[in-house]
Symmetry: C2
Subunit: 163 residues, 2 copies
């Protein structure tokens, strides 16, 4: 995660893009991996740990009704979290993660390990549904890794679009 | 840090208090240690990674002039970050950390290792100035540890005041 975060910072710097994060189930794992590296402040502006639904609505501008209708672990919620973070923090790229890290909190429809990752930028939005296995720590780590990989893919897409 | 975070969660739960975080130099280290534990969402509501000054002003309501006049690494800034997080997120206790983790960014007046930690609650505000040694990782870890210890002290103070 640490090495992947370094690659994300380097690619953002080369592309001249800034990043923000909106983390629910990863709870700061992505931001702490990024800020472990000296000089990260040049491209990583900060983010929101949207652990409670109140933070999602108060700081990221999510509609209460969206969470009421679909639950906090939902592809639409992930997308709106990313869009809200990009807007609130004024970054070029925003990545959001919401999921069920367990061990409790799972249901038959939304089991432990179900995670949504959304990345938004000027070129659009990608949302991915993950079905992860392992314990709480492993689910959080895999979620953070996939989120950072999706940021790399987004930077590459943005670069292609600019050609 | 992991074990200390667990103790903080247990003490908050016993006291019936909620917590939020506003992290600059620790960049998510406190929030990721708290959310590593299952059930943390009962007392930890989330927080803000206030890495750039824009996040400090946009999400935590800091006055631009405060940062312009005193710099982002300042006892007053730490206090206003904590107050802003408590207000924005609606938690009983807020802890804020701002400092210079290095290796660059230090000055003779504000050297690498200078960190301010502020904790606010209904019983008031405590701000501590730390002068830490070691590399970037060690400075961030010690800052996060002291921040969590100050939350424990705050919970104990609150409990005494209620007697």
């Amino acid at each position: 995660l640490y090495a992947l975060a370094k690659r994300v910072l380097d690619e953002l710097q080369t592309a001249g893009l800034t990043l923000t994060t909106a983390e629910s189930c990863t709870g700061g794992l992505i931001s702490s991996a990024l800020t472990e590296h000296a000089g990260s402040s040049a491209v990583y502006l900060g983010g929101v740990i949207a652990y409670s639904n109140h933070v999602k609505t108060a700081l990221l501008g999510l509609d209460d009704a969206l969470i009421r209708d679909f639950g906090a672990v939902d592809a639409r919620v992930a997308r709106v979290m990313a869009e809200g973070a990009a807007r609130a923090i004024g970054a070029d790229i925003a990545v959001a993660v919401t999921g069920i890290a367990g061990p409790s909190g799972g249901t038959p429809q939304k089991p432990v390990g179900l995670v949504y990752v959304a990345v938004v930028s000027s070129t659009g939005c990608e949302v991915e549904e993950l079905r992860l296995e392992g314990d709480r720590r492993r689910i959080r780590e895999q979620s953070a890794e996939r989120a950072l990989e999706m940021v790399l893919e987004c930077v590459a897409r943005d670069a292609r679009d600019r050609l």
